[in-house]
């Protein structure tokens, strides 16, 4: 099915979110919609899906105009949507979830009854309202097999990893016969590995003749998967490019100026050890250990990048270092053990902390920018004396920081929750690095941010390093690890499996993230066979097996492009 959006304009008051946007999606095409957060991509898709009505313009399916007044109209027109936040019922099984809204009811056959000469003929009854679970299961299995989704229809959604939940959403759309599938920032919630899986599925879907609109602000992804890329900036289409277009050109189109994709930084000048973690162990929620006997050191003036697939203990590591989770082992800050201190005392001792989830852990959305800027220093001078707070000092300091860190907000009294992600992160950054820190611990510092904000955040982090702070970056995005790290530590299942230099090849790093030791990864990446490895006795059998199996998946994917 060919889908065309013609001259779509959508205004909110004085703001034009979509300004006469044209978009054509050919059958069997993966169309990427590239743009920064807030460029109007989501608005456009909400118009397409009937969640909003355009002020001008029309939508054409196979060259005939249609009206889409509600998601139901969109579904009937063959448009399926996978939202960023999934619309699934966690306590239902996959099969139950996919039937929601289109419940198939099984008809009942009541056999003929005969009482002597008196008889009731056989008949079919469908008003009993019994869900046809069997049929739903069959449908799920069939689709799952056809597109390689690997979904168990009887699994409870709450037990599934995010990546699989997303596939359940895709199946939901497919079962409603979507020929155009809209994926709204689908990789935002995925690990790199899950993202690769998603791309594979997208290609299968394309091969099956369906078209996909892929919304993203990540250059690498659109280059990897799209057939054509439409770039939107400030509500307008500013260009259409083939996927072979360079990073810098796409970024420039998206942001409206040339962007430094990789911050330039001088060679690190590591000084004394400022953070030393020794034998740190953290128990996991349900028994076992999340972090096992982990030790590492970070020197002043260097950035240690901790790479790893999400869920290998990174969150627990950060929270344990901040005293938010109970742990054993030692944490030395400039030689002083802080492992028995509370979170507050650790912050005071000189750790700057940028939490992984800025909206949940970093900010209070209902508080003003000014209040958020003092969240962890609110009871110290000059902001407070005794229990009395000095609102003037708070406002003044906030005004300065907003200017220094280029936070785009109308005033310091604006609620932080209404700022864009990039500006929210700048608020946290301003708060955490304006103290005199020994260590800066930043977890996923640019997740979900647009290119311009990433550039800013990275510059600030490098500036911290250059001022002698020991910086620890925890990130599951390889780009970020490469851009910032002076040294890379790779985490796998709660341990550091090895260290690598910042010029390590991506394939090798990928192997280490899958659990291979540094030497093994190097060997495998160099093309040696497992037999050679075993013969050389370089590593455990298990690690080799892991490394090989993981190596084949991402390697093959990137090879296709």
């Amino acid at each position: 099915m060919k889908l065309e959006l013609r001259g779509i304009t959508k205004r909110f008051g004085g703001l034009v979110a979509n300004d006469s946007i044209d978009l054509v999606v050919q059958p069997g095409e993966i169309k990427a919609l590239l743009g920064e957060n807030g460029a109007g991509k989501s608005t456009l898709m909400n118009v397409l899906y009937g969640l909003m009505q355009p002020d001008e313009g029309e939508i054409l399916v196979d060259d005939s105009p249609i009206r889409i007044r509600s998601p139901k109209d969109a579904i009937n027109a063959g448009i399926g949507m996978v939202h960023q936040h999934f619309m699934l019922v966690p306590v239902f099984t996959v099969a139950e979830n996919v039937t929601l809204g289109t419940e198939e009811v099984r008809s009942f056959r009541i056999p003929a009854l005969r009482f002597g000469s008196w008889s009731i003929p056989a008949r079919s009854v469908s008003t009993f309202g019994l869900l046809d679970r069997r049929r739903a299961r069959k449908d799920v299995l069939e689709l799952s097999e056809r597109y390689g989704l690997a979904i168990d229809p009887d699994a409870y959604v709450e037990d599934l990893p995010v990546g699989v939940q997303q596939r359940v959403e895709i199946i939901k759309a497919l079962l409603r016969n979507a020929s155009v599938l809209v994926l709204d920032e689908p990789t935002a919630v995925l690990t790199p590995h899950e993202a690769e899986d998603l791309f594979r599925i997208m290609r299968e879907l394309r091969a099956g003749g369906r078209s996909i609109i892929f919304i993203s602000h990540k250059l690498k992804e659109v280059q990897a998967i799209a057939d054509t890329i439409t770039i939107i900036r400030r509500g307008k289409v500013v260009g259409e490019r083939p996927p072979s277009t360079s990073d810098s050109e796409l970024a420039a189109l998206m942001v409206g100026r040339s962007v430094q994709l990789r911050v330039s930084k001088d060679q690190a000048k590591p000084g004394e050890v400022r953070l030393a973690v020794g034998d740190l162990s953290v128990p996991a929620d349900h028994g076992g250990t999340a972090i096992e006997q982990m030790s590492f050191e970070v020197r002043g003036g260097e950035i240690l990048g901790i790479a790893g697939v999400q869920g290998n203990g990174q969150t627990e590591l950060c929270e344990a270092l901040m005293g938010l989770l109970p742990s054993t082992g030692s944490v030395l800050l400039d030689g002083k053990d802080i492992s028995h201190l509370s979170t507050k005392e650790r912050l005071r001792a000189g750790i700057g902390y940028i939490p992984e989830d800025r909206q949940e852990d970093g900010l209070v959305g209902d508080f003003s920018v000014a209040e958020n800027l003092i969240l962890d220093v609110f009871d110290r001078p000059p902001f407070a004396s005794g229990i009395s707070m000095d609102l003037n000092a708070i406002r003044q300091s906030a005004t300065t920081q907003v200017a220094d860190y280029d936070v785009r907000t109308t005033s310091v009294q604006t609620h932080a929750g209404t700022l864009s992600g990039g500006n929210q992160q700048k608020v946290i950054l301003a708060r955490e690095i304006s103290r005199n820190n020994t260590v800066l611990l930043a977890s996923q510092p640019t997740r979900g941010l647009d290119v311009g904000s990433i550039e800013f955040v990275h510059k600030q982090i490098v500036a911290q390093r250059d001022s002698g702070v020991a910086v620890v970056i925890v990130s599951s995005e390889l780009d970020e690890i490469y851009a910032l790290s002076d040294r890379i530590a790779v985490m796998y299942e709660g341990k550091i499996v090895g260290y690598a230099a910042p010029d390590v090849p991506e394939a090798e790093l990928g192997l280490m993230m899958a659990g291979a030791s540094a030497t093994a990864a190097h060997t495998v990446a160099e093309g040696q066979s497992p037999a050679d490895l075993a013969a050389a006795g370089l590593t455990t059998a298990a690690a080799v097996a892991d490394a090989i199996s993981e190596a084949s998946t991402p390697g093959e994917e990137s090879g296709n492009e």
Binding site: L15, R234, G256, K344, D379, T418, G452
Partner: protein, 434 residues
């Protein structure tokens, strides 16, 4: 960065968000208009009160047989039906007004040698009725702000009442000191109960709603028990559950005129409003409460102790409920001795007052005064109308106000206001998640 990058961005991304798509810079006058047009919380509240009065007017009309009869003759005498209706409503509501705010007749009387104090009598009565409501309202409100739903103001009230009553009748102290001792006793009595709740939640994670509801029953029955034995609070020689009257030294002095009238208790309430307002907006303690209430995870990451905040806010919340008890035990000239009906519905009315006041101290003060006025005027209304408009109509009005306040979209639909920036009770309702 070039101007092209400057985010118009957040609005475009979330057009349904609070500020979506509106120019942010406005003149003050425009802001006020916008507030009215969009139905900000203040406007919603006023409209809710108005709507509640309109609906209650219908009830008043329908309960008046004369009016019903007049409408039966509508076609022969339409003017009569309408004027009767108007008369019925006007009599009831003007009595409500005269009983709670001021009565023009008293001015005339004052000129002819009557009492000037009589002019202020209705207001004084309103303040008297409002006093405990403001304090229990504050109790619930401050807990709301820290993300806790204190259903237990009623039990904490009982705790404060027991202590205040005991100090009031059993201890002999000089006049001012005795008053202060009773007030502090009530404060401590309520605070201890509140603290138990906070501490249990902090240590075990038990939900405060469950604990407070259960503690209410414990306190009600403890009160019955204490009032059943002369070893504890029962008045010697009494078979009823009633405590001895408190000593004259411990009662609140009146502002003047015949009781019941506003007394020192009202000043206690005003001081509490000011204190809580300062605490929430200007102190580090209040900042912690608000952070914990708005986002406990961020509070924890910023080094605050969420558990200690819970314990502390419940201590204060309970103390405020205890203070409410002291205004009943020590005020109301002469105050009735402690009995199983003393706690009335003050604790639960506190929840409605806090909701209506949107958990803001000044809002609670105004909401408490409104409910106090309805109580004070209700009695007068019942006396002034024939056939009587029952005082219960006041409860109907209160209930309707809260109903409408709790449902801003309903008010907007009725008054055709544009969909507004969110944030009404949502912030408050977070208490359930704690």
């Amino acid at each position: 960065m070039s101007d092209q990058l400057t985010p118009a961005a957040p609005e475009a991304a979330k057009p349904d968000a609070d500020t979506g798509g509106k120019p942010r810079l406005r003149l003050t006058g425009q802001m006020i208009i916008q507030e009215i047009v969009e139905g900000g919380p203040v406007v919603i509240t006023i409209l809710a009160v108005f709507l509640a009065l309109v609906i209650s007017a219908l009830l008043i009309v329908f309960s008046d047989p004369n009016v019903i009869h007049a409408w039966g003759d509508f076609f022969s005498a339409p003017g009569n039906a309408i004027s009767m209706t108007w008369h019925s409503i006007a009599t009831a509501y003007s009595a409500l007004f005269e009983g709670s705010i001021f009565s023009p007749a008293t001015i005339g009387a004052a000129f002819h040698g009557g009492s000037i104090a009589a002019i202020f009598y209705p207001l004084s009565l309103t303040a008297f009725e409002a006093t405990p409501l403001i304090l229990t309202g504050l109790s619930v409100a401050i807990a709301f702000r820290a993300g806790l739903f204190n259903i237990g103001a009623s039990g904490q009230f009982v705790g404060g009442a027991c202590v205040a009553a005991w100090i009031g009748f059993a201890v002999h102290l000089p006049v001012v000191i005795h008053i202060v001792a009773c007030v502090l006793g009530a404060l401590v009595g309520g605070a201890i109960l509140g603290w138990i709740v906070g501490e249990l939640k902090a240590r075990t994670g038990a939900h405060e709603v469950i604990i407070t509801i259960m503690l209410n029953y414990v306190m009600y029955n403890l009160l019955n028990f204490l009032l059943s034995s002369t070893n504890f609070l029962q008045q010697p020689g009494q078979s009823n559950q009633i405590a001895p009257p408190i000593q004259q030294n411990a009662t609140f002095p009146h502002v003047g005129g015949p009781p019941p009238q506003a007394n020192v208790g009202f000043l206690v309430a005003l001081a509490a409003v000011a204190g809580v307002a300062w605490l929430l907006s200007r102190s580090t303690i209040g900042f912690q409460f608000r952070t914990v209430g708005a986002n406990p995870r961020a509070a924890r990451s910023a080094g605050m102790s969420v558990e200690r905040s819970w314990a502390l806010v419940m201590l204060i919340s309970g103390g405020l409920a205890g203070l409410a008890a002291s205004t009943i035990i020590q005020g109301g000239g002469p105050p009735p001795p402690l009995n199983p009906n003393t706690y009335g519905t003050y604790g639960f009315d506190g929840i409605t007052v806090a909701l209506l006041g949107r958990a803001r101290p000044v809002g609670v003060l105004l909401a408490g005064l409104l409910f106090g006025a309805l109580q004070a005027g209700g009695t007068v209304m019942q006396a002034a109308t024939t056939p009587q408009v029952p005082v219960d109509i006041v409860e109907v009005i209160q209930g309707l106000i809260v109903l409408f306040v709790a449902a801003p979209p309903l008010i907007r639909a009725i008054f055709r206001l544009r969909a507004a920036r969110g944030a009404g009770l949502e912030a408050v309702a977070k208490g359930w998640n704690g």
